[in-house]
Amino acid sequence: MIRPLDTMTLAITKLRTRRVRLAFTILISGLLFGLLLAIILISSGILRSLDSFGEEGVGEKYIVATSSNASQDYEFFNIESNNTIVARAEQLHGERIAAKKLEATRLGIEFNPADDPVPTVFDKDMGKKIINYDFAESPSVVQAIQEYRAANETPFSIDSYTQKYGVKRQLTELNVQPELGTLVPMTNGKEDAIVNTQASHSSQQFQSAEAYNSSFNSLTVADDVLSMPYATKQFDPKEASAIPVVIGYAYAEKSLGFKKLPTTASPSEKIERIRQVRAKSATMQIDFCYRNDESLALLNQAMAQQEEIEKNKDDKNYRTPSVVYKMPAENTCGPVEIASDARTADERTLAQKNEEFAKTFDSAQDPVQHKLKFEVVGLTPSPSLSDTWSLADGLSLLLSAAAITHWQIPASYFVQLPDELKPVAVFGAAATATDISKVPKTASDAYITEFASLASAKTYLNANSCFGNCEVSASPYGTNTLIMDDVRSTLETMLLWVTGIISFIAIIILGSMIGRTISDGRKETAVFRAIGAKRIDIVAIYSCYTILLSLRIIIFVALLGIGLAFMANYWLSPSVTPQALTAFSAQDLSKQFVLIGFDSPYLLYIPLIIVGISLIAMLPPLLMSIRRNPINDMRQE
């Protein structure tokens, strides 16, 4: 049989013929695989950088947040026709009306039962009484539902869901969301409700991603595992005069008076900005204003009254209200006080009686307001999005998909704070707790679990990720570790498909080209056969030719793929790096987000695939060729 070096000598002669066709084949196949290689190198680099940045912040932990959907069962439309609740609501309403009549008589005030109508209504379609939607919040209905829930609802236990998986620990994060009233930061030290004459913030519409990111969205008291990684300065809670808080980077940047960097800002300017924001935020304090519903209602009333008086100041017929309220200073979060009271003694007595009557039967409270001082001890990640979408934005979103972007009070600091800094009206049961994990969760609190391994966290997620009508719904939380694993497996699946499609196209191109070459070489094959070549010798020559052709393609693919990946890295890394630094709150600002990586196993597969499909493409025409009678091919002169 022909020796390997001789095989190569003869195979090389074939590569020197039909050079245009050869170049075309290398170009087309190389372009396809070159793009694939570039995608692999870039995705490998991205994943590697994500892993590297993922070690920042909460770090490489397997944390899942689980929300209980049990309260859905008690939403209005699910219980409106519940016979027990309807009957109990009617009973409670009757008792309430009777009690109100008695109390009105005792106080000597008027009470009209029509002012407190029966909270049920007959539904023709159902043929029975149901709760009237308009009175769903009436005390009778609320109490009836609470009693029903207490009697029927099984208390939610996160352990019953997570215990069969490898749980490392349960973490606690409690929303600071006063049941009665609102808690909002005082932007620039001023009360937003007064400055903007808007009491409600929930309906605030954000005009841009930047505006959203730089706003306050929510505040939690969070387990140290979740919050302390973002703390950047020492804090002594026992000597504290303010509540320590980790706030969003974008909020800090805006509040500190930094103007938005232009889109043309250089990467070094962006990184310098991050450095400046971090440095300045270390001395930053933010005031919050808490007002309960009555305080807020009074504030609204005072503002409306002030507006009305101002509007009618030139109207001689206008009569100012008998009670005129005085607006608190916008930086005090103070109470709304009475500026003048022109009521008679009887009118005041009647008002006091009505107030007493309301407090007895409704949830009315005295107006309460607190000004709370917060001290910034760290910054949570903020996805640094521009208003015009870019690839860097896409990566930034991916980076911060599970990152904690709300404000956090580290739990270990919180429990040690002096009591006067954490009013019960604002912090509820957590205010007096020594261990926040023991504080009962509200419907808005998620159950946060850290799993011992990626596998157990993924198994749990697969079993409990739910977007429909389910008992619980779980999602990755606090760290991108789990998301990155999904991204990695999705990417691998995509690469597998892309490789398959490209290989299929390449087989057609290479099969066509190699087939033509073999067909063109039939006469030469016949001559070789005449002078003593065995069929296996011909197979060896064409196999060697195919492998040499593949090597040329591989070289072209390597040059093209690596070149494209380096270009992508050159263009994108400078813009992605600052976003990654903020999205992960990376401590080391010299860290680079590199978009090229050479550690994907696919890098080994590509040359093998190219050689493999080339040989596969070669086989059919070659097998047909060596089975031909050489005489037939020599006669075709």
Binding site: M1, R3, T9, E524, G532, I631
Partner: protein
């Protein structure tokens, strides 16, 4: 020029007018007359030599289909060629001479009949053994040379040695020997494109000789050459026969070659004429 009647002066004048130079016409006439003389001598000396028979074909038949038409290329041909003999296979186109040559060389398998070459019934050989047989026993020379354009003369001559699995050093020795025999020692590092037609055919002959075959089968080896080169090639074949004792069978239309051969085997319509 007709040879069955004496040429008139006019005939000769017309024939000379076909050439650009009168000297070419004279050379052509001289060659023609020599051919005629050697043909007459040849036919008088055609009995087979006493050497052993190296090729023995018995009742060879070969048919194949061209479209829907059955073509009988060989119709019961029986021949014997002796060792060291120089045989010319002649006949008009389609007479079956090339088919006979390829059958002897094991490139084509007869539909029936037997071929013994050097004592081996080649019809019974497997494809692999047939390849080895061709490589070691037969040397093929073709009308169109079939050289590898991107290999040097040396490498082209080496090709049969490559298929024999010979080492490069063994081949180098053999190449230099055969190159010297065909007069190409100075051209070994040249590329085929740098050679004339005659030189290319010499390379092809050297290639055929490399593995020291017992038989050289040449299919119209001068068909693509001018008369001077043709003459040189025939002389080379004769020299090879003398030098190596190689049996030579040549398919040719060229009367000069046929006349130069020891024996002419003529075929007509797939039969011996």
């Amino acid at each position: 020029m007709a040879h069955h009647r004496r040429a008139s002066e006019d005939d000769i004048a017309q024939y000379i007018a076909l050439f650009d130079r009168p000297v070419d016409a004279v050379l052509a006439i001289k060659e023609y007359l020599e051919t005629q003389r050697s043909s007459a001598k040849h036919h008088q000396q055609s009995p087979a030599p006493d050497t052993p028979v190296i090729v023995s074909a018995r009742d060879l038949r070969r048919g194949y289909k061209v479209g829907k038409t059955q073509v009988d290329a060989l119709r019961g041909v029986s021949i014997e060629i002796h060792q060291g003999e120089f045989v010319a296979l002649t006949g008009p186109s389609g007479s079956g001479k090339s088919t006979l040559l390829q059958s002897i060389g094991g490139l084509d398998k007869p539909s029936s009949g037997t071929i013994l070459v050097d004592g081996t019934d080649i019809a019974k050989l497997s494809d692999n053994k047939l390849s080895t047989f061709r490589n070691s026993t037969i040397g093929f020379v073709f009308q169109f040379f079939y050289l590898q354009p991107f290999l040097t003369v040396r490498q082209n001559i080496e090709v049969p040695g490559m298929f024999a699995g010979n080492t490069r050093s063994d081949r180098r020795l053999s190449v230099e020997q055969v190159a010297a025999s065909v007069g190409l020692s100075e051209r070994l590092e040249h590329m085929p494109s740098e050679l004339s037609g005659g030189q290319m055919q010499r390379v092809a002959i050297a290639r055929a000789l490399l593995n020291q075959p017992k038989i050289i089968l040449a299919d119209e080896p001068t068909g693509n050459l001018d008369s001077a080169n043709s003459r040189n090639i025939i002389e080379l074949f004769d020299k090879i026969r003398q030098e190596f004792g190689t049996t030579i069978a040549i398919v040719t239309h060229d009367r000069a070659i046929a006349n130069r051969a020891d024996r002419e085997i003529s075929l007509l319509d797939g039969k011996l004429a």
